[in-house]
Amino acid sequence: MTGCPAKDQDRKAKIVLETFNFRIIVEYLPLYWKCFFATLWLSGGGLAGALLVGVLSCSMRLSESRIASTAAGVYIESIRSTPLLAQLYFFYFGLPSLGIRLPEEATGILALTLNSGAYMAEIIRAGIQSISHGQIEAAISSGLNYVQRMRYIILPQALGVSIPPMLGQAIVLVKDSALLSLISIVELTRAGQILTSERFMPAEGFLTTAVFYLIIYYILKTFSNWSQKRLIFRGA
């Protein structure tokens, strides 16, 4: 009953598994390209939003208004103490109960923005705190108010110093975007899931996905190294 055919099956299975099925990957390449760009624009949207939210919440955190400072503090600490996935599900399942109907992509970018925004706020704060005190005192004695000090003296310098850690956060953001596949958004990780469920080939599916993510990673890393070299000459 199960004699030779099973042995053949085992042997054939081994051979198939040992040979990575490149043909399938070529066949699915259009899907992977589509998902690659989806990942890029989802991460890009999240990054842009995160910068805005980061600058805003950092300014609030460091302002003299007790209310603004506490509100920003609560926001930042809640984000930092909870996982992105829980936050994503919170918005995805929770917003509709408030009557807010967003397409999945919008919910995904919203979650990415609010999450990375908190970390950006901390990065910018560290950048601000690295600005020499003398500059700030000079600005105060020149009569600039809080908003003007932030806008013309503090933020431009802080942002410059913050670029390397921000790029680090950008890398984190791209990796975080993988979670969006869990709310049925079609991006790189979902491509791997599709290959698994349509063709039963998780190896080809997820290893190809990993390769695409690594491409983005190495591009960002190279850019980060390059920008760090330039900053060393400018800053110090």
């Binding site: 598994l17 460091l62 302002s63 600490e77 809640s78 930092r80 103490s81 909870t82 996982p83 992105l84 996935l85 829980a86 936050q87 599900y89 919170f90 918005f91 995805y92 399942f93 929770g94 917003l95 509709p96 109960s97 408030l98 601000i128 705190q129 600005i131 005190h133 700030i136 809080y146 000090r149 932030m150 503090i154 890398i171 791209v174 990796k175 975080d176 975007s177 993988a178 979670l179 596949s181 869990l182 990780t189 791997g192 899931q193 698994t196 998780p202 190896a203 997820f206 290893l207 996905t209 990993a210 993510y213 690594l214 990673y217 190495y218 890393k221």
Partner: protein, 230 residues
């Protein structure tokens, strides 16, 4: 009429949620167990890798370095899927929980490795040279001179990394491990009030992570003294 109905539904769902609390606590225990195991194993492996990376062996340094880079360059979710779906094809039979522990341990080890390298390299090489001149072997140097001092630099980011890894553990819910996040995901399909359900999930994570973050911050403050008034 509709408003009252809404309030009733809210109360009804709240009651159901309270009934589900034992399930949430089971999930919380799973998160703690998973994180605990992976963090301990990851710290041991991470320190080993870090010491090698900060040392002299050129080949090993490169291999570990390449692996760490691979892990840092890909999403943890993808790594979890690979551990779960692909390792069995190479002959390693894995269920969800072991696959999760392996993936999380690996992730921890890679990040902790880099922290350890940073700590060791921060020790002025003059100290090591003096130690060698005094006749101390590498092992003794490491044990009595380098590591004790490096620990001061390593500890704050290490604790911070622990928090990050506990949060990353939520990702394993995607392969069916019943941690706190998964309990929330399962529950919200029965109790469709996302804010309540994931509010509870958030509170549970907050209870674990926030104290650790404060600990890490206070450790860091003891090492740098900077105050800024804007």
């Amino acid at each position: 009429m509709k408003r009252e109905h809404k309030k009733d539904m809210w109360g009804f769902y709240f009651e159901q949620l309270v009934q589900s609390i034992p399930f949430f606590l089971k999930g919380l225990w799973m998160t703690v167990a998973l994180s605990g195991l992976s963090l301990v194993a990851g710290t041991v492996v991470g320190f080993a890798w870090g010491i090698i990376r900060a040392g002299k062996g050129k080949v090993l340094k490169r291999i570990i370095g390449a692996w760490v880079d691979l892990i840092r360059g890909t999403p943890f979710l993808v790594q979890v899927f690979i551990a779960f779906f692909i390792l069995p094809e190479a002959g390693i039979q894995l269920e969800a929980f072991p696959a999760a522990v392996i993936a999380l341990t690996n992730l921890s080890a890679c990040f902790i490795c880099e922290i350890v390298v940073g700590g060791i390299q921060a020790i002025p090489s003059g100290q090591r040279e003096a130690a060698t001149a005094s006749g101390l072997s590498s092992y003794h140097q490491l044990r009595h001179i380098v590591l004790p001092q490096a620990m001061r630099i390593i500890l704050p980011p290490l604790v911070g990394q622990y928090v990050l890894l506990i949060k990353d553990s939520s990702v394993v819910s995607a392969i069916g491990v019943t941690d706190v996040t998964r309990v929330g995901w399962l529950t919200v399909q029965r109790i469709p009030e996302g804010i309540m359900v994931f509010g509870l999930v958030g509170i549970l994570y907050f209870v674990i992570c926030y104290p650790l973050i404060r600990l890490s911050n206070s450790m860091e403050k003891r090492m740098t003294v900077v105050t800024t008034r804007l």
